[in-house]
Amino acid sequence: MKKANILEFVSRFGTYMIVIILVGLGCVISDKFLSTTNLINILDAVSYLGILASGMALVTYCGQSVDLSTPSTIAVASFVSILTLRFGMIPMILCTLLSGALIGLFNGLIVGKFRINTVVWTLAVSFVFAGLIRVIFGSANIYVTTGNTRAFEQISRYRISGRIPLGVVVMVALMIGLHIFVSRSRIGRQLKLVGCSELVARYSGINVLRIITLSFVGSGMAAAITGLFIASLSKSACYNYGTGYEFRAITAVVLSGMVLDGGRGSIAGVLGGVLAIGLLNNIMTLLGLNSFLQDVVTGIVFIVIVWFTNYTKTKLEALNG
């Protein structure tokens, strides 16, 4: 029984244990590590990733494995934001969010209705939108020309009371909001039930198609926010702005203890996963590791942690009979 409790604890709070270990490691490596500036830098570095991952987590939580259309959604959103800036800030933000929501709606309706393998479908969607952008705009960057350029720049540059970047605020607010929504609201609970078993959820009276669609819309909108921030940061839009983000978001989601079968984990766990990635990258940078070597280490850490999570899960199931 004791062993089961330990395993249960590990499978529930594993992410935060990794975070704590990494913080400890960071303190040992450098005395600058715990400085406010460095901590804010860590958060700043992962804020876009965090926004993206919290949306993607909805899809995973709902049992639909992963949304691989996010890189294209980010790219599409960056173009939409640049192109609609001339109509003012608020319309621009609304249009950007809408573009993400529409891509999510498309994904969700098709996947939910026809039960297509999510990986293949979202990948296909990703190709189509990436291709579409490149057909229309070519492979070059599109820069901001008209509209309130200064305000647009400030989205990624504004720091609250001069210290905390807006991205971090958005990430934390989004995570808190989503965490409460997922764990407390009725729809959040429906997400969980669909993730546990689509069939049982259906027989319990849940409109499964609607819930799956909702999760994809959430993922699309989160990707759109990420795209908006990236566009503001570089004051431009390009087809490849989302490249690589999907893997990092999946890493964060998987590290959070969400299994790809769905119904487990929490958004708070995703925050842990995102922090773990941020800390790992920060420590490696402090150690002076080449960015490519950082990829290698991330890959290894990722595989080892997934392995460990699986191991505790199977052990736990064996113990409980």
Binding site: I116, W121, A124, V125, A130, G131, V297, G299, I303
Partner: protein, 335 residues
């Protein structure tokens, strides 16, 4: 009447990829400027070499019901390793051999992660892909590695038989051999059984984990062979071949799905997948004849994949809706 129609439909769906290939080829020949001539067709076949070899292993993994996302990274590892070995030893044989061995080792590790550590193949190979890509980029600081020895290029460009350049010939021979293995030997057939129903395979006394590890290492081997040959042909290896133009992964998934493979496992054919590659290559080649860049190719690739996947899902959805109905009652009710 009805029976004839059914037969015709069955024929169409069984030979879908050939029909689509023929359609694309004929349409392009008719409308695309400078598409239908021996030179261009030779180029087309040559272009298909890399993906044609790589799709073999990719399809075997799909037949087993898994997905290997590390395939592109293996191509890059193999290309860079092969060029590196040629730089060091001057021998192309050593380069290709080293690349293939590396590919097999990576494949075995992938297989072990999936069978022993029981990690979802999608996740395991995604992690592996990041790791390998990081290694390749680190080894040469993301630069292109090149050699000045073009003997391999010349050899691969020669035409032992008319129209078909040697590199395409090599791909075709390998594809035919593996296709023969998969469709005509008992061992090849067991891969299908493992993908079709793991439990039933286990009951029949087959060890599924051996076949899975085998499938992943075959994928490693063929991805590496394709990557190494391609790098030797170009006399250079990029750090990430997927960064420019249509990533091989897009092409591989679209081609094998077009060829009838599915992620559910148990379905697919090496020859059909190869024709899937040919179809898409012909499509791209034709688009280039229209002076359309690879931007359009990426878009078309996605559309093709989307349509094929959607069509299959819709037909399955319709079929499931009527599952379990009694045909005699159904007929009576309709009358």
């Amino acid at each position: 009447m009805d029976k004839d129609r059914k037969k015709w439909m069955a024929f169409c769906s069984a030979n879908r990829v050939y029909l689509i290939f023929a359609a694309v080829f004929v349409l392009m020949s008719l409308f695309a400027p400078r598409f239908f001539n021996t030179y261009n067709i030779g180029t087309l076949l040559g272009t298909a070499m890399l993906n044609g070899i790589v799709v073999i292993g990719f399809t075997i993994v799909l037949i087993c019901g898994h997905l290997d996302l590390s395939t592109v990274a293996i191509i890059n590892v193999a290309g860079n390793l092969a060029i590196y070995m040629v730089q060091k030893t001057g021998s192309f044989g050593a380069g290709i051999l080293a690349a293939v061995v590396a590919g097999i080792v990576i494949g075995i590790v992938n297989g072990l992660l999936v069978t022993r550590a029981k990690i979802n193949s999608f996740i395991a190979t995604l992690g592996m892909s990041t790791l390998l890509q990081g290694l390749v980029s680190y080894s040469n600081n993301a630069a292109t590695r090149s050699i000045t020895d073009f003997t391999m290029t010349d050899f691969l460009d020669k035409k032992l038989i008319p129209i078909v350049p040697n590199r395409a010939l090599i791909a075709i021979i390998i594809v035919l051999l593996v296709h023969f293995f998969m469709s005509r030997t008992t061992m090849g057939k067991n891969f299908y059984l493992v993908g079709g129903n793991v439990e039933s395979a286990w009951y029949a006394g087959i060890r599924p984990e051996h076949y899975l590890i085998g499938a992943f290492s075959l994928n490693g081997a063929f991805a590496a062979l394709g990557g190494a040959l391609y790098a030797c042909y170009l006399a250079s290896a990029m750090a990430d071949i997927g960064a420019m133009g249509v990533s091989p992964l897009n092409m591989l998934i679209a081609a094998s799905v077009l060829g009838g493979a599915s992620l559910a496992g148990g379905r697919g054919s090496i020859l059909h997948s190869f024709f899937g590659v040919l179809t898409l290559t012909a499509l791209y080649n034709g688009l280039t004849c229209f002076k359309l860049g690879y931007e359009m190719q990426i878009f078309v690739n996605g559309i093709v994949l989307m349509i094929v996947v959607l069509m299959e899902a819709v037909s399955l959805y319709r079929k499931n809706k009527l599952a379990g109905s009694k045909s005699d009652l159904f007929k009576q009710a309709q009358n």
